[in-house]
Amino acid sequence: MDWGRVKFFLGEVVRSFTRNKGMQATAIGTVTVTIVLIGSFLIAQASLANVGTQLMRQIEISAYLKDGLSSTTTKNLIAHVKADPRVLSVDYIPKKQGLAELAARTKGSLDLSILTENPLPDKLRIQVRDTAMIPAVAASVHALAGVADVKYGAKVVTRFLQLTNVLHRVALVILGLFVLVAGVIIANTIRLTVFARRREIAIMQLVGATDGAIRLPFIVEGVLSGLLGSLIAIVILAIAHMLLWNRLASALPWVPLNGAAIRPLVLGAQLLGAGALIGAIASWLSVGRYLRT
């Protein structure tokens, strides 16, 4: 191991970092911006992933039972519904309890005291594991003997399913766009950096440097820019997270933001890796263009 050679090599890298500060700042800034965008996106996705599902937990299926079922039949029915793997919970609400609930809910708008008889049927309140399964579960429950009718917020469920479907696709498109934009911009930046040094590259070749030897400092430089850029981005994201998360959580108290879904170390490592990779690939490709003379 010839330490002089290592020193020379490191010197190369340090030199171009320090002699071309403006260009380095440009490349690093671009990586920073890119990683901030991608990072925000990933954080938003992770913390919002369950919001829809959790908001929709409230939606449940009401199965109205036929009048006068024996308690055994009712029990069997409940057990049968519970056995369905898609079902999360089943509550049996006898007509008496239903009336009490209704009275509480409609207090002021509906005078239930005038009732001489209970107008409600017995009912099963069914919660499903996944909102998407509501229609199917409702249909199979409806088919059971002893069930008179099944109701659920059909409109709300359909809309929710449509919305999550569309949002999912939009999110994918946006992420794809970001990665594309990031790729294009960083490649361009580094290409210009190399372009500005094409004369140097040509001279190195004329003096007998191999393509690999010319490439290596550029790539190390690209990786360093990438790492530095993503490091800055991570700091920015952390600060923004600190400042905004609580304000967001208190502005939207009913949105079950999932803070725990964000694993800072994993995310940080991913973003650093992404930055380094972007830098390396961009350098590799950019230098390549000017090596063929």
């Binding site: 010839d2 330490w3 002089g4 050679r5 020193k7 020379f8 030199r15 171009s16 002699r19 071309n20 140097e200 001279i203 190195m204 070749q205 004329l206 003096v207 007998g208 440097a209 191999t210 393509d211 030897a213």
Partner: protein
């Protein structure tokens, strides 16, 4: 008719023609033999093809047709990956110096050794020696942009010498040097030549050529029109003129 040569061949061009992409025919059926250990001046008007001929030898460009052999290597057929290896065995003083602007004088010279994979202790010994030979040791920490024209030229010369190449190609190496420095550099080239290096110098400096009386290859319009032992800058004054090719 090929010039008889007492030395084994270092450079051999056979019927070499070169046309640039813009259509200029820079070399036209050039043949030339230069033996190991020779000292050759290349003279001729501006734009006559001297630089083009040298660029063929270190394979900056490839000929249109013809064969080129440098130190046993068929330069016209060499693969791209072997070009760096060829260039490391040569020392070249470029007409426009081609210094790396963000390296100091010392680093520019050292770079030529570093690319060969030289050991650091050799670099630390050789670089100062080369800078000393051209008289630039005191400017070794300066960048090319901080040098005078002549100092840049001396840096380029030091870089060409530092690897002790077997073949030294110098393209107008003294165009920006004063007569004193020119003489010193030429004497230096002479000493290097005596130690066994083949030296080829493209120059317009009549005084130098006429004083040194070495082999002179004269070009005109992309052709070699004269090749004289112990020649002068101007035609027909030298001994044993033999047209090659």
């Amino acid at each position: 008719m090929l010039r008889k040569n007492p030395f084994p061949s270092m450079i051999s061009l056979r019927n070499v023609s070169l046309a640039y992409p813009n259509g200029v025919h820079a070399l036209d059926n050039v043949s030339l033999e230069i033996g190991k250990g020779e000292f050759v001046f290349l003279v001729g008007h501006s734009g006559t093809g001297k630089t083009s001929l040298l660029r063929l030898l270190y394979r900056e460009i490839a000929p249109h047709s013809g064969e080129i052999t440098v130190d046993g290597v068929r330069v016209d057929k060499i693969s791209a990956s072997r070009v760096p290896i060829l260039r490391r065995r040569l020392g070249v003083v470029f007409q426009d110096y081609k210094l790396l602007v963000d390296k100091t004088v010392w680093e520019n010279v050292a770079f030529a050794m570093q690319v060969t994979g030289a050991h650091t202790k050799d670099i630390l010994r050789q670089v100062p020696r080369a800078l000393d030979l051209v008289g630039l040791a005191h400017k070794s920490r300066m960048y090319p942009g901080e040098l005078s024209g002549g100092e840049q030229q001396k840096t380029a010369i030091a870089r060409a010498l530092v690897n002790n190449p077997k073949l030294l190609l110098c393209d107008e190496p003294t165009g920006n040097l004063d007569p004193g420095a020119t003489t010193e550099i030429m004497e230096l080239l002479g000493r290097i030549n005596i130690k066994g290096t083949t030296v080829m110098v493209a120059t317009h400096n009549q005084g130098v050529v006429d004083r040194m009386r070495r082999r002179v290859v004269r070009m005109e319009n992309g052709r070699i029109i004269a090749d004289e032992e112990r020649g002068f800058y101007h035609r027909g004054l030298g001994e044993s003129q033999v047209l090659s090719g």
